[in-house]
């Protein structure tokens, strides 16, 4: 096996595992701020106690997210050193800025959030919660800036084979930054919201910790409903941007081979690369043209218009994109039912719906992973779109056996971390908020 292929596997593993946690951090951070704000405004103990419970869970998610995140920052140098040399002038800056402007903020104030409740004033504690929330979102922004530049590079020229920055603002706020940021953040909020809604639903099913479970369910479900509908807007904006700036990726996600006027929106299918054909295709006529150009007859470019060597892996790009969209539809349906039950005051008694919330806990995170895969795999063969191919971006001095060794190492560590994450998470949930908030930091 060649080193480039192994480095791809390792990066996919490291980023894929890491990306389980940041969406939950974003969503849980928001829920903590909501509860702290309610406590500050109403002075009701219950909101403080809910927040205490959330902070404990947040700490676990945050610890694993941080430790697996460091691996990624190192990876550009260890496994993709040619990439680092070629585009470091632009790509390095957002990573450094993330550290200085965002990561310090969340990491320093999480110290106050975890252990400082009795040491600082109520307002200062609220501010700390807010700064952790704000820092994690700002951190997400810088990472999205870096990633968006790989998707739709701007603000640079190529000099002597290296990308050289000509305009920082254009590079940072490029064609896809805003859309990608909003779509990712809302995905995180959804993940956190359903995570807490599912946990609360379990308490209600078990008829325990109801003082906590009911308000927690209400708050998180409202957030879930709002974000599930918001996500249609951000998703649409993002898709239109992809269609206009990375048409080949859009064609792959839609399994569209021939360019068509009045192109259909694909709902289901099995695209086969070798035959240039999509089997069992189900599509809604003209909808793709309408969604991208607001005109049923505009032509959408198909894959056959581009040289084959520039095609991303079609099957996986298509399927990951469709699973994400399908899950988005499911969340909207669940939200609509939830809103109805909430409005009719039947939420706490509708057991089947509570079970549904419980069993769908991991789905928004899976949707985030799928969306990320569609975006990154759909960008192939490029590491930086139309600038640098992934195959030319890897380190030249790292032998394949060393990468294989570290893949094995990361697989073992990440499997163990995941098992322990689930173990400690379920342990905390089973103990229940009442018990958990009594335990001290250590």
């Amino acid at each position: 096996m060649d080193a480039v292929f192994l480095s791809r596997i390792q990066f996919a593993l490291a980023a894929g595992f890491h990306f389980i946690f940041p969406p939950l951090t974003l969503g849980m951070g928001l829920l903590i701020v909501i509860n702290e704000t309610l406590y500050l405004k109403t002075d009701k103990e219950i909101y403080k106690n809910i927040s205490k419970f959330l902070v404990k869970i947040f700490a676990l998610i945050f610890a694993i997210g941080v430790s697996t995140g460091i691996v990624l920052e190192f990876s550009f140098g260890t496994n993709w050193s040619t990439y680092s040399r070629m585009v470091g002038d632009i790509f390095g800056a957002p990573l450094a800025a993330e550290g200085i402007l965002a990561f310090f903020l969340e990491s320093v104030f999480i110290g106050v959030l975890l252990f400082g409740r009795d040491r600082v004033s109520k307002k200062m504690y609220w501010l700390s919660a807010f700064l952790v929330f704000f820092g994690s979102h700002l951190s997400g922004l810088w990472i999205i800036i870096a990633n968006s530049w790989m998707q739709t590079p701007a603000g640079f020229v190529i000099e002597g084979g290296r990308a050289v920055l000509t305009d920082f603002f254009t590079a940072a706020v490029n064609y896809s930054t805003a859309q990608r940021f909003l779509h990712t953040i809302v995905g995180g909020w959804q993940s956190g919201a359903l995570f807490l809604a599912g946990i609360s639903a379990w308490y209600i099913i078990k008829k325990r910790d109801l003082d906590y479970a009911k308000p927690m369910l209400k708050i998180s479900l409202i957030l879930f409903i709002v974000t599930s509908f918001l996500q249609f807007g951000t998703g649409h904006m993002h898709a239109v941007q992809v269609a206009k700036t990375q048409p080949i990726k859009m064609a792959a996600m839609e399994g569209l081979w021939d360019s068509r006027e009045g192109a259909p929106l694909s709902v289901f299918g099995f695209p086969v690369e070798s035959e240039k054909k999509t089997y069992m295709e189900i599509g809604i006529p003209k909808l793709l043209s309408i969604m991208i150009y607001a005109d049923p007859n505009t032509k959408v470019q198909g894959l056959n218009e581009f040289p084959e060597e520039l095609h991303p892996p079609i099957f996986i790009t298509f399927q990951t994109y469709h699973v994400m969209i399908g899950l988005g539809g499911l969340f909207a349906l669940m939200s609509a039912i939830g809103a109805f039950l909430l409005f009719r005051k039947k939420l706490y008694d509708t057991t089947w719906y509570l079970y549904l919330l419980l069993f769908t806990i991991p789905l928004p995170v899976i949707a985030c992973e799928m969306g990320w895969m569609a975006a990154e795999i759909g960008r192939q063969p490029w590491a930086v779109y139309n600038v640098l191919k992934t195959a030319d971006a890897a380190s030249v001095v790292v032998p394949a056996w060393q990468i294989l060794l570290t893949i094995i190492m990361f697989t073992i560590i990440y499997t163990m971390l995941f098992v322990l994450f689930i173990k400690f998470l379920t342990k905390m949930i089973k103990k229940g908020p009442e018990e958990i908030i009594k335990t001290s930091g250590y």
């Binding site: 941080v66 550009f76 050193s81 390095g92 800025a97 999480i110 040491r119 920082f168 380190s395």
Partner: protein, 332 residues
């Protein structure tokens, strides 16, 4: 002087400051981790006290490494690319340690039976990077084989030469001293006594390794004899090392910690002054060395980054001091 040259020099210094900041701050919690079995004798209550002393702050300390790494990437992409790909396996072992220690404190809190295992993993996760960081720096100072494309042409065993191993141990003793003096600030009773006793012994190792590596460095780096900044840093190292010893003896914990920190910063000062402007020395041909001038980003990137650092870092330092003040005093 040209603007680009000035920016390159400024970033050479700033990267040094970021790494020194990391060494001083994460140094104490790495040091505590590396000494955990000795300081606590596997008594869970004592582990708890030490974890409480670093719990609220270690996370922010580690961000200094992430920021230093990011800044190296942004300012000197070639240095970042060469070192990180060249020292591949060693860095992966460091990452293994950093992951392990990051989750250990959290898991220790959540575990009910057999908490001790997470004290052990914290120890392992701390001692590995504590030694390897210095080894990596020693290699960069001594030099590694580089080719005309700035690529590393050694192997894993290139990294394990005697001089880098000596600097690895020097860095390790410096980290231990940070950990011990910080433990003295934050604890009382038995742990405090063990730390104080140990600090006295570690000090001798620290001094011996310091003299050994400093003499070799000054002897082999050309032009070191008239490098005034290096001599000033060396003098500061000696003075602060003796001050550390004195304050440990007097039981003035806070000043002992400050002196130990100053000694550590001075070590970075010596390294930086002797290295300048070299980032990664080429042992095979000095002309192939990676320097601040041939490995840097463009003028625009360096200026934007400088703006971000000058606005951001004072704020970071400000609120970090605030949080340290919130948790001042002995852990009970």
């Amino acid at each position: 002087m040209e603007t680009l040259t000035m920016l390159q020099i400024t970033w050479f210094i700033l990267i040094g400051i970021l790494f020194a900041g990391y060494a001083v701050l994460d140094g104490f919690d790495l040091g505590i981790g590396s000494l955990l079995p000795i300081l606590t004798k596997n008594d869970e209550k004592k582990v708890e006290v030490l974890f409480k002393s670093i719990g609220p702050v270690w996370d922010g300390n580690e961000v200094w490494l992430i920021t230093a790494g990011g800044a190296l990437f942004a300012a000197f992409p070639h240095a970042y690319a060469t070192v990180f790909s060249g020292f591949y396996l060693a860095l992966m072992i460091v990452l293994f340690g950093l992951i392990l220690r990051a989750v250990s404190i959290e898991f220790f809190t959540l575990e009910t039976e057999n908490k001790g295992i997470w004290a052990k993993t914290f120890f392992i996760g701390s001692i590995i990077p504590s030694i390897l960081f210095g080894v990596a720096l020693g290699n960069v100072i001594m030099g590694v084989p580089l080719d005309a494309d700035m690529e590393f042409r050694g192997n894993f065993f290139t990294l394990l030469r005697p001089f880098p191993l000596a600097t690895g141990l020097l860095g390790f003793t410096a980290i231990l001293m940070q950990g011990l003096t910080y433990t003295m600030i934050k604890t009382e009773g038995e742990i405090h006594a063990t730390a104080k006793n140990l600090a006295g012994k570690v000090w001798y190792g620290y001094v011996i390794l310091f003299v050994f590596t400093a003499v070799i460095s000054f002897a082999f780096v050309t032009g070191s004899a008239c490098n005034i900044i290096a001599w000033i840093a060396a003098a500061a190292s000696c003075a602060s090392l003796f001050a550390t010893r004195m304050f440990i003896g007097e039981g003035d914990e806070f000043k002992a910690f400050l002196s130990s920190s100053l000694a550590f910063i001075s070590l970075w000062g010596i390294a930086g002054a002797l290295q300048y402007p070299v980032l990664v020395r080429a042992i095979n041909d000095p002309a192939l060395s990676i320097t601040a001038f041939n490995a840097s980003s463009s003028k625009l990137t360096l200026s934007v980054m400088l703006g971000i650092a000058l606005v951001g870092m004072p704020v970071v330092i400000g609120y970090s001091i605030y949080v340290y003040r919130v948790y001042r005093g002995k852990v009970r």
